[in-house]
């Protein structure tokens, strides 16, 4: 026997409501005999018991609903507002008290549970891929070698020029003297007769044989308190003895006890005049770099910007003597028709002669 689903449902419902007719009961019995597995399902049907369906919460108490002031202008059930405000920590004192009263209210608890589920939880497994590409390095100031070399070269050039100019410049020396002259009268000026002797220690070849020191005696004269090797000095050298130089030095010191006015030496007289005139002022004449370097080189080597031929030879001889460590004699003979220059290195004699023009 076959029954449609609708017929079966009608029979089952009529069975439970005890409204089966005689024919319907026969139909149902026959069907259950054919399908015994439905017998248990039919008898175990659940009946609702309405005895425990009672309201236990305080959701509908008007006072509770009126006390909710948070999110007043927003739509929603007061319990939603309370739950969200509690979640956000925005409850007022009155609402906190109300919340305590609602702790046993299942309706509120249900809403509060749903609200608590709306809190977003970050997924810490979600990480930025390839973090290194975001990193940066401190900008590095690159080392440029040629700039360093250029800077060193400029510094060396500057120092070199300074060394050429500074230590041997008589101009500066006299310029300082000129400044001193502008000062109130010194003891030296007050006692011009008392010479001031100072020793000059230098390895400079020029200075080794010609110890010079200029002191201002008055505004118009310069006193030499050391001596330039003169003919005596040359003769001492010509004696082919190193003692000659020592003798010369002693003579020089002895000679310095008397002031000597310088008249016939071009460079020193010129400089002394400038010194007497006051501080030197920088010349406005233009000069080439080459001329400037030659001038400063001469001042460094020979003690003057424009050395004479004799000064050149004499200085070079002294250089050579100190370099090779062998006494070197030098003589310059100025004859009527020719000039002769003779160097004597031990047994070796070198003579240079030139006819006068």
């Amino acid at each position: 026997m076959n029954l449609s689903e609708a017929q079966l449902a009608h029979l089952v419902l009529a069975y439970h409501e005890d409204q089966l007719s005689t024919n319907e009961r026969h139909l149902l019995d026959d069907y259950l005999k054919a399908h015994p597995e439905l017998q248990e399902e039919l008898t175990s049907f659940i009946y609702l018991d309405h005895s425990d369906a009672q309201y236990k919460g305080s959701s509908l108490i008007k006072e509770n609903l009126e006390n909710v002031t948070c999110y007043a202008e927003e739509q929603g059930h007061p319990y939603e507002k309370l739950a969200i405000a509690a979640q956000e920590g925005e409850l007022s004192a009155v609402e906190k008290k109300l919340l305590i009263a609602l702790e046993t209210d299942p309706a509120y608890q249900f809403i509060a549970q749903q609200i608590s589920q709306t809190v977003l939880i970050p997924d810490y497994n979600m990480q930025f891929p390839n973090l290194q590409r975001l990193e940066k390095q401190q900008p590095v100031v690159r080392f440029v070698p040629y700039l360093t070399y250029a800077a060193v070269a400029v510094a060396a050039l500057f120092i070199g020029v300074l060394l050429v100019i500074w230590p041997s410049s008589p101009t500066r020396h006299f310029a300082q003297q000129g400044k001193k002259d502008k000062n109130p009268p010194s003891k030296l000026a007050q006692a011009p007769e008392a010479p001031v002797v100072s020793s000059v220690n230098s390895t400079h070849p020029m200075q080794s044989t010609s110890h010079l020191r200029f002191d201002s005696v008055s505004d118009t004269s310069v006193r030499i308190i050391s001596v330039i090797p003169d003919q005596q000095g040359h003769s001492a050298l010509q004696n082919n003895s190193t003692d000659g130089l020592n003798t010369l030095s002693r003579q020089a010191v002895a000679t310095t006890t008397q002031p000597v006015l310088l008249h016939d030496t071009d460079q020193y007289s010129m400089v002394s005049e400038k010194a007497a005139a006051g501080p030197l002022k920088p010349s406005s004449e233009s000069i080439t770099m080459k001329a400037f370097l030659v001038q400063k080189g001469n001042e460094r080597l020979f003690g003057t910007a424009k050395p004479s031929e004799q000064q050149r030879i004499e200085t070079i001889t002294n250089y050579a003597q100190q370099t090779i460590g062998i006494p070197l004699n030098y003589s310059h003979l100025n004859e009527a028709s020719r000039e002769r220059t003779v160097w004597q290195i031990g047994p070796i004699r070198i003579e240079k002669s030139s006819a006068k023009k």
Binding site: G76, I115, V119, L134
Partner: protein, 161 residues
């Protein structure tokens, strides 16, 4: 700020910025671009940004990038907004977090932003207001509406399931 401090910021904030951006834009590549853009801007202004305020600077940059993107999208896809939401039925497997994520995707741009700043980073209303150029009351209302929407969304989905 030094380069060393900058790199410390990268390690400290990159993941958090990425999570925040990804939650809002729902696009991994775009979120990476936002984070990278934020750090590039920070690097360009490294001498002007205080190390103590660098977190706010980075999040504000991300927020501004999202707002700019949202505006562009509104202009480009204005006609799509009138169409009904295609996602009405639940997916095959749902737990609460999945439902929440779906619901977050349905929030408005600004609601999603303030909610993620609130929940992910724990910013106060005042801080969120400063980051997003909103008032504190606006932030408060946006968060309330977002939570209420999510609560309703969860309830609706659970009934359907």
């Amino acid at each position: 700020m030094t380069a060393k401090e900058y790199n410390q910021c990268v390690h400290e904030f990159a993941d958090r910025l990425y999570r925040f951006a990804l939650k809002n834009v729902q696009d991994s590549d775009l979120a990476q671009d936002f984070v990278q853009d934020a750090f590039e801007r920070l690097w360009l202004r490294i001498d002007h940004v205080d190390y103590q305020r660098v977190k706010s600077y980075l999040f504000r940059t991300i927020v501004n990038l999202q707002i700019d993107r949202a505006r562009r999208q509104q202009l480009q896809h204005a006609h799509l907004t009138s169409l009904p939401d295609p996602v009405q039925s639940p997916g095959p497997a749902h737990d609460v977090q999945v439902l929440i994520n779906e619901g977050v995707a349905k929030l408005t741009e600004i609601q999603r932003m303030v909610l993620t700043l609130r929940d992910y980073e724990g910013y106060s209303y005042q801080e969120i207001a400063e980051l997003t150029n909103l008032s504190t009351d606006q932030v408060k209302v946006y968060i309330f509406r977002a939570r209420r929407f999510l609560k309703q969304y969860i309830g609706k989905m659970e009934v359907l399931l």
